[in-house]
Amino acid sequence: MSKLLKGFVFAGLLPLSQAMAWQAPVRVSPNLSVVLLSDENASVVSEANASVAPKPVRSSTQETINQAGLDLRHIEENVRSGAARLLGKYPSPASAAYLTFALDDRIARVRRAAIVSLAELYLNGFYIHEKPLVEKILSKLGDSDVEVRREVSALIPRLSIGLFRSSFEIVEINGRRVARAAPATLRADLLEIARKAFFDPDAIVRQNILKYHYALRLPLSAQVLDRLLSDSDLGVLLTALNRVPSSTPSETVVRRVEKLSRHPDVGVRKKVVSVARDSNRRHPGYRAILRKMTIDEEPAVLSMAAVELARLGEKVDPKVIQAVGDYLLGVAGASTQVMTILYAVSAFGDEAIEIYRELTEHTSSKIRTIAWQRLLTFDNGWGRADVWLPALADRDKTVRRAIVANLNARSRNFDLKTMEQLVSSDFVDVRTFAASSLQSARQNAAEEVAFDLLIDEDTGVRAQTIRALASLRAPGWLKIMSNSLLDEEYVIKRAALDGLLGDPVQGVKTIRKFVSEHPTDSITPLALAELKSRGITQ
């Protein structure tokens, strides 16, 4: 800071009224190049319009910044705070310098306005790279006003860019001037201020410094972490727990986390499970915590602990597994946490099957979908119609759709009994699936149910059936296709036409016959166009 230039405005040059508010000279680094914008946005009053009242002339950016900079020294607190607010709208090195200066104002309201404006500069993508300025901002972590401290603590990750820029210093070694890299460390006094912030009276400041201490390269000792793990503020406590997996393993911290596993707040206990899971390879105490938490009174916590233990390969008590199943059955919907547990139930091995089976009756369609998918996978059920058919009776289309998507990717060599059940379904999507399965179903099954599907009440099912029959070239298919060309529904006509076009000999012949006999039918123009595209003319 001592190398900084003298201030470019001197208190002595100011009117007395403004000089009274003077506190310290503005210190602008010589490296700060204040761009003169040469009035690029100043309005020009047209001389031709001299009789018209002139529009207010906006000042240039530089003029506005300079005026605000002057106003920061005004005796009136309101003027100073207004200037600080305005400067936040003009991202520039000069604005940053003026605002940093305003952080020393004796009135807290002005300092607040200045720090909020500095935050706004960062928010708009303007980063301050001048180390002295950034150090000044960081020093306000020790400000007497809590709002200023909160803003500074929230800014820490952005400040680190200016604080730890690589630089060099010239030193004299054996009479020679040598340039060498300057260590990127925090100044000792700032380090002390930042350390004290861990125990700031305000919980938000404590929380922020805990979140961002790494950005200041400030180590978090086990002692400090232990103290913060006993913080009375929930936000600080959860943030401190977040820090446990990345801190040095310590008995003190493990004991504290163990104590927190009995915390009255469920959210904290859930966090403890997550921390114990993430830290279990670093200290055996964490796995012991997980084991103890499988008897937690809150089913969600118990379930989280149990599935984590199972994932780690530990055998879980059948009673606990049952409790996990009961918890999942009782949840009202599929939250992120529930989904995590739901998937992790697989880690229970064979005992998971029963849980998934029960969950296929859950009220949540999302849970039922996953339960069905898992159950069918576990039980090798995809190949067994008696296992997956009940899933297609689910009341929710999303469940059925998910199961059908899985079945579509597998062999569908369905027997007559399976096809009959699909065809008799109440759900259109299931019958459509039956129609699309005609191609791969056993021949006798396909022949047996095809007629039912052809007279289905739903057009989509009928169209799908026609396409399937056309692909199969089942006996009498040409007759079915030509009849379908006369159907009232265009979608059926189109399906039949597509089917016939697939057979260049018999199919095309049938189409040609149809168009000659029905020149005004709605499908005829399309049929003619299709024939023409194949080089066939009537």
């Binding site: 946005n41 207010p56 002339v57 906006r58 000042s59 003029e63 910044i65 003027v79 705070s81 207004g82 607010r85 305005l86 936040g88 709208k89 003009y90 607040r112 909020v116 404006s117 935050a119 706004e120 928010l123 708009n124 993508g125 809590v146 709002e147 909160r150 803003e151 929230a154 305000d202 919980a203 938000i204 929380q207 922020n208 009375s232 503020d233 929930l234 936000g235 959860l238 469920v266 959210g267 859930k270 997550s274 949840v331 009202a332 919907g333 599929a334 939250s335 946490q337 995590t340 009756e361 009220t363 949540s364 369609s365 849970i367 009776a393 009341r395 929710d396 999303t398 109440d426 759900f427």
Partner: protein, 329 residues
């Protein structure tokens, strides 16, 4: 609130729900239908609605299925089986609906359905920026056009600050106890708190417009509220929210007229029907506002844990009020 639940049961009974194709298992929870055109669309706050529904289950006796029922089209037959439809307008690729969907929506609303259009109000200056909420007092143009086709004879009307919606479950702004912070902890910076209490959300109210169908409000639209509902599995709010606050100062009425400005201006309808003129520069958040009273104020942006927590608590209370209003209205 148990009364609310019974009222809902009665409402559902009179709703004229069509019979299901297959007998469903006994349903003990209200299912919210959410329009999601495609699974591939970028979700705006996917944790929001389930978190709000969990909150409702925890804080009220109403019982919601916390797993919304997603539909891709308003013609989905499942819509008519559930009394509340939620559409996050920012989550839709566009707000164009087919004639069939418009007809289905009209039928749904006339048969007692309720529609909440989150982000159904969107100030023009926000453009394509989805991460902001701004209290304008008219529905977005796409919503206006949509409903001019569905109910040509009806218009959206702004809800007054004393509307029952704002008292249907919660009243007022969150206090330290609601925020789960210590009694002596400063919940918001002074200027922020003062603006919030007097202008932004007085007595816990917000900008809403409503459309009446058969003597009841069947459609509600608001600026995006879902951003304030989400909670992670440990109960922490997600994502962080910041505040836009209007601040005045000595001489701003003159200074802001003359200060450097290179952007454009936007008009936004206020609660009193007059219009604010917003000054905004490309790549920056709006700078300041010229109010119809002749007053000029600057926008300041506040972020941080306390701001975010307060905003989340507020939006969740608003969301809870909307759901409770839908059940009891």
């Amino acid at each position: 609130m148990r009364l609310a639940f019974y009222l809902f049961t009665a409402l559902a009974a009179s709703f004229g729900l069509p019979e299901l194709e297959a007998a469903p298992p006994a349903r003990d929870a209200i299912r919210i239908v959410q329009l999601l055109r495609s699974d591939n669309v970028l979700r705006r706050y996917p944790d929001a609605l389930p978190s709000l529904l969990r909150h409702m289950n925890e804080e009220t006796t109403a019982r919601f299925d916390t797993d919304p029922l997603f539909i891709q089209s308003l013609e989905d037959e499942q819509l008519l089986q559930n009394p509340i439809l939620y559409i996050n307008c920012d989550e839709q690729p566009n707000l164009e609906f087919s004639d069939g969907e418009k007809q289905a929506l009209r039928e749904y609303l006339e048969r007692g359905g309720f529609l909440y259009l989150d982000a159904g109000i969107k100030a023009s200056f926000l453009g394509s920026d989805l991460g902001h909420s701004y209290a304008a007092w008219e529905e977005r143009p796409e919503v206006k056009e949509l409903f001019s086709n569905i109910f040509p004879e009806k218009v959206f009307v702004p809800l007054q600050r004393d509307h029952e919606l704002f008292r249907s479950f919660y009243k007022g702004l969150p206090d330290n106890k609601d925020l789960k912070i210590q009694a002596n902890q400063k919940k918001l910076p002074e200027t922020v708190l003062s603006f919030v209490e007097r202008e932004k959300w007085p007595q816990g109210t917000y900008s809403f417009v409503g459309l009446r169908v058969k003597e009841r409000i069947a459609v509600l639209a608001s600026p995006i509220c879902a951003m304030g509902w989400g909670k992670d599995e440990f109960g922490a709010w997600i994502p962080p929210i910041s505040f836009r606050i209007r601040e005045s100062s000595e001489g701003f009425n003159e200074k802001l007229k003359l200060a450097s400005f290179k952007g454009g201006t936007y008009e936004v309808k206020r609660e009193d029907g007059l219009k604010d003129i917003l000054y905004s520069e490309p790549g920056q958040r709006p700078l300041w506002v010229q109010e119809p009273t002749g007053k000029w104020r600057i926008f300041k942006y506040y972020s941080g844990e306390e701001i975010s927590n307060f905003a989340h608590a507020f939006y969740t209370r608003i969301g809870a009020n909307v759901l409770m209003f839908a059940l009891t209205n």
